[in-house]
Symmetry: D2
Subunit: 349 residues, 4 copies
Amino acid sequence: MLVVMNHNAGNEDIDRVVETIREMGYEARPIPGRQRTSVGLIGNDGRVDAGRLEGLPGVREVIPVTKPYKQVSREWKEDDTVVTLPNGTAIGGPEVALFAGPCAVESEEQILGIARRLRDAGATVLRGGAFKPRTSPYSFQGLGLEGLKLLARAREETGLAVITEAIDPEGVDLVAEYADVIQIGARNMQNYPLLRRAGRVGKPVLLKRGMSATINELLLAAEYLLAEGNDQVILCERGVRSFDTHTRNLLDLTAIPVVKSLSHLPIIADPSHGTGVRAKVIPMARAAVAAGADGLIVEVHPDPTRALSDGAQSLYPEQFEELVGQIEVIARAIGRSLVPALHAAGSRG
Amino acid sequence: MLVVMNHNAGNEDIDRVVETIREMGYEARPIPGRQRTSVGLIGNDGRVDAGRLEGLPGVREVIPVTKPYKQVSREWKEDDTVVTLPNGTAIGGPEVALFAGPCAVESEEQILGIARRLRDAGATVLRGGAFKPRTSPYSFQGLGLEGLKLLARAREETGLAVITEAIDPEGVDLVAEYADVIQIGARNMQNYPLLRRAGRVGKPVLLKRGMSATINELLLAAEYLLAEGNDQVILCERGVRSFDTHTRNLLDLTAIPVVKSLSHLPIIADPSHGTGVRAKVIPMARAAVAAGADGLIVEVHPDPTRALSDGAQSLYPEQFEELVGQIEVIARAIGRSLVPALHAAGSRG
Amino acid sequence: MLVVMNHNAGNEDIDRVVETIREMGYEARPIPGRQRTSVGLIGNDGRVDAGRLEGLPGVREVIPVTKPYKQVSREWKEDDTVVTLPNGTAIGGPEVALFAGPCAVESEEQILGIARRLRDAGATVLRGGAFKPRTSPYSFQGLGLEGLKLLARAREETGLAVITEAIDPEGVDLVAEYADVIQIGARNMQNYPLLRRAGRVGKPVLLKRGMSATINELLLAAEYLLAEGNDQVILCERGVRSFDTHTRNLLDLTAIPVVKSLSHLPIIADPSHGTGVRAKVIPMARAAVAAGADGLIVEVHPDPTRALSDGAQSLYPEQFEELVGQIEVIARAIGRSLVPALHAAGSRG
Amino acid sequence: MLVVMNHNAGNEDIDRVVETIREMGYEARPIPGRQRTSVGLIGNDGRVDAGRLEGLPGVREVIPVTKPYKQVSREWKEDDTVVTLPNGTAIGGPEVALFAGPCAVESEEQILGIARRLRDAGATVLRGGAFKPRTSPYSFQGLGLEGLKLLARAREETGLAVITEAIDPEGVDLVAEYADVIQIGARNMQNYPLLRRAGRVGKPVLLKRGMSATINELLLAAEYLLAEGNDQVILCERGVRSFDTHTRNLLDLTAIPVVKSLSHLPIIADPSHGTGVRAKVIPMARAAVAAGADGLIVEVHPDPTRALSDGAQSLYPEQFEELVGQIEVIARAIGRSLVPALHAAGSRG
């Protein structure tokens, strides 16, 4: 951490900074410059609160040098983390994993039907919301427990692993009972009680980037999970808020190489929420794989025009099939391959 | 809702849109234009899901006309909502209310000392975090129950009303036992289980705007509270995320007149989190009142350089005293006044 | 255009809107709704100024339905525009074009050396700034006319087409004398006198998206060029401003399919400025092609650590060579191919 | 400037950074830390290009410490710059100046009529566009020279000083002939040839902040003017691009105290473009003065519903009159006053 002083800060000011740093238990090293003095804080263990220093007289700016996260960083663990699901799907290794399914579980017929088609097309993880966080209190909020049971049935029938979202700390255990991966949605990325509970439940967690979260904040949210002892964490880029209204969000694919340089955790992309428009999902799914994503999570609905939520961004099954073919070639172009499709017989789980 | 068709959409496409709207239970009215046809959806009760229509062939865009919120809107209730606290502080009427206090409750000495000074300076509501949502799992997370008890003691001693944050559904009842106003923080603006619980607890709620929430999303989040039967809701502008790093957030004061035109709910401003820099808090506090805010919530710490959190944005007590004097004049310039200061004797509560 | 009235607007208000629309020369059609009336403006030719209607009493909102641009839209011209350069490079057809070169022309040795290497690697267009718009007045501003002459020499020697930036209306003719494509930089996207001049000069123009330009604004800026009679326009996505500082800009690849659905003009991507970080250029270049870009413009410098500008985002020549190989496979995956490499002999097509 | 190394950077990498810094003519000082080494660059004169260092192996990040601007900074000149116009209006001193007028000059009747009313209401500077940069090539582009002449007539008749925009380098001299202040619009904030010309013309310049310009970029743009010898520069906050569509821009009032702490230049606010909505102009104008603005520039039109541009954000004359009364009180609340109104006789100071 570097404490930059005003150009007219006096020795008294500099001394006070030095003392404060020492009082906080760190080493202080003044660095005189041409225009101003800076004071380096040495020994930062990631717990230093800049606020105390920013408030001192004569201080112009406090610049963090050490990153505030620890266990998620590549410096803590050099090798890529690979999260392996019960049906064999490995996320974060050389293979690219395909998560697909409807926005919400709506009925047995819907979820079983689409699960079979997705499995045959090459997906190995089934997504589907049972508890839906909705912007409006008057929108469909999901089937709840009934939805979880239907997802479990679909897994039994198809061998697909199952991912679904938990939206409150109390619900984490219930979701963990039925799902192979617990999803934390974008709106809950900084819901710390939820993160803590998810960190203790013993199942892999998919953590979606918040609507306007910086990469640092995403990694710090993941740190909450690792700090509770759960290192089976998959990050997910799903678009950030921006100023143009042509798409629902701005899919920030550069986040993929950025995260991979800073952290050992796998990262996948969600081009469905990332764009919010069906016609843009396919090109952006391809682009995500080309950018190095460890997987995709894509909304596919048997009949998008009748979907109870997110119909406009859901692919038709045949679009998904076409997409898988294109992605396969792109993965090979960069030395990767897709997670092998499951056998029709199903249950590896 | 207006469904805008592509310029080359055929009659078949238009008919399908019309039928779908009717199937959804609404009236459809095609409006031929020079370049393209649009179809109006009439009878929208705020529950229409655009997704289903956006997905239909030939549809270019679906434009909402009806606002998706109801009970929070001025159209639902024309007159301003005034939230009155047990000590008489009224928020949303002609008076401007002052909420002040440290970021976090740290000790009995700290909270009692600052409470007395703030009361004497003219504040009538005491803020102080007992449960702190922190970006890093390694930062100070608050004193918890102990903090709540200290706040209650400060209320007894000073007559100040108390506001503090609840961070999970399970904690709402506990917070409600001790506080006069339950705060929902920016990171939790779309934590729907938390909102639902807060909507049922029978105490006023302060709802902070999320980091990158649109005004519509803020109002929809408030709708969750009203939909549970709680209309004692105070909104709070606290800055949104932007691209410049000179301040922690970009305080969006225009949100104040915008909210007041769309909703009957009171709205206050938080210039401390809104700027993140002590020297900017005072001018922005003044500006918020000039823009029509129904109150301010300001961080003040007896010794900001030793604060356990947010020290850099906390005012010194004497700065707060000076601010109150300036604000009083500005309030009068626009035909308002400050909530009268409490008597030193204390407990109106 | 749809004029949405307040729910309590009277008949008088509605009549005034209807009359105003008629006075403006268009047809007005009131559309009564459940909560409010709207008035459709029919016959919009793209010149309607919403301001006049927004200001009328009782008007809540004016919603544009017709897009404000004309000649750039797919509705004006259904087929893709293909821009063909003197050396045969076609941009906007089935082939993907590679523009590459240093940020700035620095010396004869530098530009000739790198041009040969890029030509051999498969690029067909050479980029290089002679006039550099720099954020600071104290930074290197380019070699000017000397730089243009060196670019022309490089073209003679290698057969590469040449693209370089014009930064003021007076300079357009000079640049047009030497370059095959005139570049309008992001900072000048809305420099209308510059656009008008570039629209009249009779050479293809590459128009970069402004730092925070919406797609609509980008297309309207292009409309300035077409309105002057120049339809040889190539658009370029180069990243938009966002809130995270890990990259210089946020490369908005979704803009590519969005532009291609709205407009017939070709669009390429600039992953160098789009990320600002060398290690992110390669994955994002691949992603851009996977997303459907008609080409790439990439900064490559013979010795990036000694570049006079943008060194941190410039590729080493060998990185570019590797990139070309990967892109070739990705292009094929989506049914495209690269513009064929030029013969070493250097004869222009 | 601080060059932060990767935690696994070797001595070789550090040595290379040290050597490069020395080669660039500065002093290098390695600062070993617990997790990583940093290297301080000492003697930075504001011309150091970070790019060269960012590109070196083992470098994680380059953090600027010295600000890149010079003459605009408070460190260069401690005292506030006061810009005084021929009619005595002083901007940047204790008084708050009022600039007002229509978006565009439309006719003699319009400009003379409104000028008289504004003078009587207390404005001392008349705004009005003669050359209008418009997003669409099909919108009204201003009366040009005829507009300039009408502004000069209005000055003669009323004693108001005149401000109007120059949109290209060639037009600067012409505008300077007629106007007292040359306006550089937001879209042209980084139009460097225009800035250079305006810096040499010998008249005060009003420089508007670009749509998504950081404060640093605004100050660097102003530096272009000062570097040409013109220190009569007034900055203007006019709203930045953000994600909400309730207002045209997000007026960033915090920029006012931020600029005043970094620079000696005066800064005014434009609440008309800053909000884009008439009903929000008045509260935000008040807020700007409360935040410490040195003046306001407000659009007022004799009949906003018939304005040729920006009608929706123009005040009615009576609204402006009311605003002046409120602002007067607010200015006094913070120890300032308004620039005294001109005498009806109209003689220029």
